[in-house]
Subunit: 176 residues, 2 copies
């Protein structure tokens, strides 16, 4: 079945620090012409760390788009072309003061496939050493450890809503 | 800890069919002024259905932002203010020909908390009756059933990347 849509025209609506917005005209497989709003994003890297006490490293962070403080695993956005694993290693140390030399790749997720090109690369950290945090300007992050069983309850109760965090826990549980 | 950022100015960059883009100026808790690019989206509704043979209902659909055909559970976007459960019931029938009178709420996810306001509401369908599909114009969807054990493998292997699908499977497994 031919499903591909072919771009026939397009314009850049916005070119920002976090997102670009493209408005494209495409030809659908049935021959129809349609418009596609596409958010272009460089992607992100996120890190799951579960310590020897079966506690998950989580952050509480204010997210402006939701006007809410939410729980998430450590993560950061990539610069264009940046190696996601190296970015994950850097973000983990900057935000939590945990240093690793390598990470285990858990998976790459498409957070919102309907309109964004973003890919979030998810990794597992093992046996980190403790250094010190180094937050970005304007970053206010509260780091905590929560028992894995409690994290599962928080996903089911809706207290944890962040998709990359729920996906990371799923990868972790499925690998067991 | 005060984490909230207060909007002090803002402009609407784009107002489209799928997304709006706002560029806001905010005051951070530390007093700094920062800009925030926010994608405003009405949200979506997605439906997990696992039949009596332990097979998961999945769709293969072309997604323009990734230029790729991906596996996902049935889903659709909401109109502004639309009831997500009613939208989910409608989308399930339109895309798969399965009719239900009610759905079980699994959870609401924040797919990409860094720049978008989107919430995807995820439901579980039970005991649907078979009617007929009614695709939107330009929608090309290939519906299939895949064994739950195989779906778990496809998540771990990276063949399934869609975040709402991985989250839905996580809810399903955690509820057991």
């Amino acid at each position: 079945m031919d499903m591909e849509e072919k771009k026939i025209d397009g314009e850049v609506i916005f070119d920002g620090h976090v997102v670009k917005l493209h408005l494209d005209k495409v030809k659908c497989p049935n021959g129809n012409i349609a418009s596609r709003e596409v958010v272009i994003h460089n992607g992100g890297a996120a890190i799951l760390y579960v310590n020897d006490n079966d506690e998950v490293l989580l952050e509480r962070q204010y997210r402006y788009a939701y006007n809410e403080v939410i729980y998430e695993i450590p993560a950061g956005k990539l610069e264009k072309g940046e190696n996601p694993k190296l970015a994950a290693i850097r973000e983990l140390e900057e935000e939590t003061g945990l240093k690793v030399n390598d990470l285990i790749h858990l998976g790459d997720i498409y957070p919102t496939c309907g309109y964004s090109s973003e890919i979030i690369h998810i990794y597992l950290a093992e046996n980190p050493t403790k250094t010190h945090t180094n937050f970005d300007e304007d970053e206010v992050i509260d780091v905590c450890y929560i028992k894995l069983d409690k994290v599962k309850e928080m996903i089911l109760s809706g207290e944890i809503k962040d998709a990359k965090t729920i996906c990371a826990i799923n990868y972790y549980l499925l690998r067991k």
